[in-house]
């Protein structure tokens, strides 16, 4: 009692405490709180001035009686019984008070909790009474709108809302609060407004009636949630979905989705066009239902593989769809659920028919061009800018003995006999654009020289950039051989023309010689035998000789002129033995004079040769005369004539045991004006004329000789192929 200062309430103060035991807790406490009188003697207590009351707590009746007896009249006494009563009443009172306080505190705490919850709700909450006056607002509302509670309490809700959100919807009869109040149940709307910064906001408003225990509406609670973000997201999602739809729809690839059963769930326009069907006819159906079975089978297998492996699968296929065949490049991939199982197949298919056709066309064109290259009789080589071989056609391979694999990438100058010359040509091509018909020499694999005529040009790509060089080379070996033959023929023709001139020139002095000599002869015939003897016999000896030489000159010129005369190219036929028969008697006289014996082997069954008879005789006369003359300084000599046949040729060998021919002369012996005879004897035209004649008939003259070992000439002529009945002679043999 003391401790709790419970008497303070009654405006009483404890003036003193007495106890037998001075160390009783109460006594100690009293001392500690400064009670004035603390004693063990009661009479001290009684002596306290202004004492109003004594409370006896000892429980001792004796003490009570003493106190009763000794107390001053004005001092009241409560004995222990009364104190006890008093105390219990007090306690009860206290208990009730405490309970009430606690209850009030609980209620208060509860209230505060509820207020906290109310304020921490992230939505804006307004509490209105039935007159639409703002009764309360939560912290979120106040904070969001920068308001204080006392600014808005007691104001009409639209007064408050309007500045914040623009027009209130009461005027539109759309106010959720009004509706909630009217209907007695919650009402929700979505409202759109612009805030003070002009930004668009969406709000979801739920208005609910506050209903008391009797079911009467006592107010409205309006909750506003800003759903701008959500609306934006939804809009974005919608937009994205629309975009995706548009994307899928407008994709040039056929895009489609099928479920596990193979039914089309989604198809875009390109798919419809590809399949040649309407969207409605495709959706919900499987390939087997809407496509030819072969094509459907291919597609289904692709789907199944994707579903089974739960993995992407790409493939190309040629399908018969509709009325045509198409090439498709397809990629399919699975849509997987959370457990990794494929629930649908997405497919992307591209119609690559045109591409395939273009590729096939390209291949055909390439092959065609390659055929052109390979069928060309010219060697065609292309190089890159560094001069390395890029392509090498079939003719190049066969002419040069290299395969294109072997030569590719190697420098093209390795194919040329003179690489520096090629470098020069390549440079010219670079500057001038092309080089035409340059004669050059290529080398084949074994190093054999091949004369070619080269035409080179720049190789340009479609943009006009130079990317290399094209070399086109024509093998001119035959042409060169022909040219050489022509040159030789022309030389001979020139000689022929020269000869004609010479012949004419010679004729005049010859004529003179003839006349002078003739005249002298005439004089001699008339002279009397008395003319001085030596002179006469000299003249008689010399003059015939003069005439004989003239005759020889005549024969030279006539032969020369017949050589110069153009002969027809008609192929004639001659018999060698018959020609020899004609010629030998003519020469025998001269041979006998020079003491030379001619031996002739008679080859029986010798086939005829392709040469004019007279021309053959001319050749034989020339060769035999040469031999005879070569041995004229010998006392005697021999000539062997041996004709024989070897395969397609007849070879007439004329061999003598004369002085032979020195090497340097032998090499030039068929050139015109080459003669070993002393100046004035012979013009050196005989053998070159023979050479020309024989060459004209596709024959050959060969000579073998060593000084001191005679000379051997061989005339080789082609055998005349006797035609079967009625047919003309065939072409020349080489």
């Amino acid at each position: 009692m003391v401790e709790e200062d419970s008497l303070g309430r009654f405006r009483m103060r404890i003036a003193g405490v007495a106890d037998i035991d001075p160390d009783a807790p109460g006594v100690r406490y009293a001392r500690s709180i400064g009670v004035e009188v603390v004693t063990t003697d009661i009479s001290e207590l009684l002596a306290i001035p202004d004492l109003d009351l004594i409370i006896e707590l000892t429980g001792s009746d004796e003490l009570r009686d003493r106190l009763e007896a000794e107390r001053p009249r004005h001092v009241r006494l409560i004995d222990h019984f009364g104190a006890r009563l008093f105390w219990e009443l007090h306690q009860a009172q206290e208990a009730i008070l405490t309970e009430r306080t606690e209850a009030r505190e609980r209620v208060e705490a509860e209230r505060q909790r509820i207020a906290q919850i109310f304020d921490s709700i992230p939505d804006e909450i307004l509490v209105l009474d039935t007159d639409m006056m703002v009764h309360h607002a939560n912290a979120t509302f106040l904070r969001n709108n920068g308001l204080q509670l006392d600014q808005i309490c007691g104001r009409q809700c639209f007064e408050v809302e309007q500045p914040l959100r623009g027009e209130c919807q009461v005027a539109l009869e759309n106010c959720p609060c009004a509706t909630a109040m009217r209907d007695g149940k919650p009402c929700s709307v979505v409202r759109k407004h612009f805030d003070k910064d002009g930004e668009l906001h969406y709000a979801a408003i739920v208005a609910g009636p506050i209903v008391d225990a009797d079911g009467e509406v006592t107010g409205i609670i309006e909750m506003t949630r800003d759903i701008t973000h959500r609306i934006q997201l939804e809009n974005e999602l919608n937009a994205t979905e629309v975009r995706l739809q548009q994307f899928m729809e407008s994709a040039p690839l056929a895009t489609y989705v099928k479920n596990r059963q193979g039914q089309y769930m989604q198809v875009n326009r390109a798919t419809c066009e590809l399949l040649g069907l309407l969207r409605g006819d495709i959706l919900g159906h499987t390939d087997l239902e809407i496509l030819p079975s072969v094509a459907a089978d291919v597609l289904r297998r692709g789907d199944q593989r994707v579903l089974r492996d739960a993995r992407q699968y790409s493939y190309d296929a040629e399908l018969a769809l509709g009325s045509s065949r198409v090439f498709l490049a397809t990629t399919k991939y699975p849509v997987l659920d959370a457990s990794g199982k494929a629930t649908a197949v997405v497919g992307l298919s591209k119609d690559v028919t045109a591409q395939r056709q273009a590729e096939a066309e390209l291949t055909r064109t390439r092959e065609y061009l390659q055929n052109i290259l390979d069928n060309s009789p010219m060697i065609i080589v292309t190089t890159d800018l560094a001069g390395r071989v890029v392509s090498f056609n079939a003719k190049a391979e066969s002419a040069l003995g290299q395969s294109s694999d072997q030569i590719a990438g190697k420098p093209v100058r390795a194919l040329m006999q003179d690489p520096l010359e090629l470098d020069g040509l390549l440079r010219r091509v670079g500057h001038e654009g092309s080089v035409q018909d340059q004669e050059s020499i290529m080398l084949d694999r074994s190093g054999l020289q091949i004369p070619v005529s080269v035409t080179m040009s720049q190789l340009r790509d479609s943009r006009g950039e130079m990317i290399g060089t094209v070399l086109m080379c024509r093998d001119i070996s035959h042409r060169k051989a022909l040219m050489n033959q022509i040159i030789q023929s022309e030389r001979l023709a020139a000689v022929g023309r020269l000869a004609a001139g010479v012949a004419h020139e010679i004729n005049n002095p010859l004529a003179v010689i003839a006349e002078v000599a003739g005249y002298l002869q005439d004089l001699c015939a008339d002279l009397p035998a008395t003319y001085p003897e030596p002179l006469l016999s000299e003249l008689q000896d010399g003059l015939p000789k003069l005439l004989a030489h003239v005759a020889r000159g005549r024969s030279i010129t006539s032969r020369l002129l017949s050589f110069a005369r153009k002969s027809e190219a008609s192929v004639e036929v001659a018999d060698v033995n018959a020609a020899l028969e004609e010629v030998l008697p003519f020469l025998e006289k001269e041979a006998r004079l020079a003491n030379i014996s001619i031996h002739r082997s008679h080859a029986a069954g010798l086939p005829r040769v392709r040469i004019e008879e007279l021309q053959l005789e001319e050749v034989l006369i020339n060769l035999l005369t040469n031999s005879i003359q070569a041995m004229s300084s010998q006392s005697h000599g021999s000539i062997w004539i041996e004709p024989e046949v070897r395969e397609t040729k007849v070879i007439i060998t004329i061999r003598d045991d004369g002085p032979g021919i020195a090497a340097e002369v032998r090499d030039r012996i068929f050139d015109p004006f080459v003669s070993t005879k002393p100046l004035g004897q012979g013009t050196g035209l005989g053998l070159s004329i023979c050479y020309g004649i024989v060459k004209r008939y596709d024959g050959e003259i060969r000579v073998q000789s060593e000084p001191g070992q005679g000379a051997t000439f061989q005339v080789i002529l082609p055998v005349h192929r006797e035609p079967p009945q009625g047919e003309a002679g065939t072409g020349r043999s080489t």
């Binding site: 004609a500 004529a511 006349e515 005549r554 006539s558």
Partner: protein
């Protein structure tokens, strides 16, 4: 015989000696070394036979022959030609030459040709046309 012969050839030595040889056989020979002087000589006195070289510089044999026959169509002309001038010889023959011989020619052949030309106007030498 006294046949009057005009030798026309640009080779003077030839005509000189030929003239001597023919003279030794009794002919009267005059010489000319080109077509122009030949025509002048004929102008002065008409010979019995003209022996004409075809290959002369300046006015050649054909022209001379033509000019001669223009004035003296009946004058026998024997033409001499070199080898290879057959075409000229043939032309000459068409132009009225009585005969032709190749140079160098045999004297007897020439004498025969001259006498033949004078006698009848026909030639015995046609078979020897290609002698050389």
């Amino acid at each position: 015989m006294g046949i009057r012969v005009l030798l026309v050839d640009d080779e003077k030595d030839l005509t000189a000696y030929l003239a001597k040889r023919l003279a030794a056989r009794g002919m009267e020979v005059e010489t000319a070394s080109d077509g122009a002087s030949a025509l002048q000589a004929v102008q002065r006195s008409i010979p019995d036979v003209v022996v004409l070289d075809m290959l002369m510089p300046g006015m050649d044999g054909i022209q001379t022959l033509g000019a001669l026959h223009e004035r003296h169509p009946d004058l026998p002309v024997i033409i001499l030609s070199g080898h290879g001038a057959e075409e000229q010889a043939a032309r000459g023959a068409r132009l009225g030459a009585i005969d032709y011989l190749h140079k160098p020619c045999d004297l007897q052949q020439l004498v025969d040709a001259i006498t033949g030309a004078v006698t009848a106007g026909s030639t015995p030498a046609s078979s020897d046309r290609r002698r050389h």
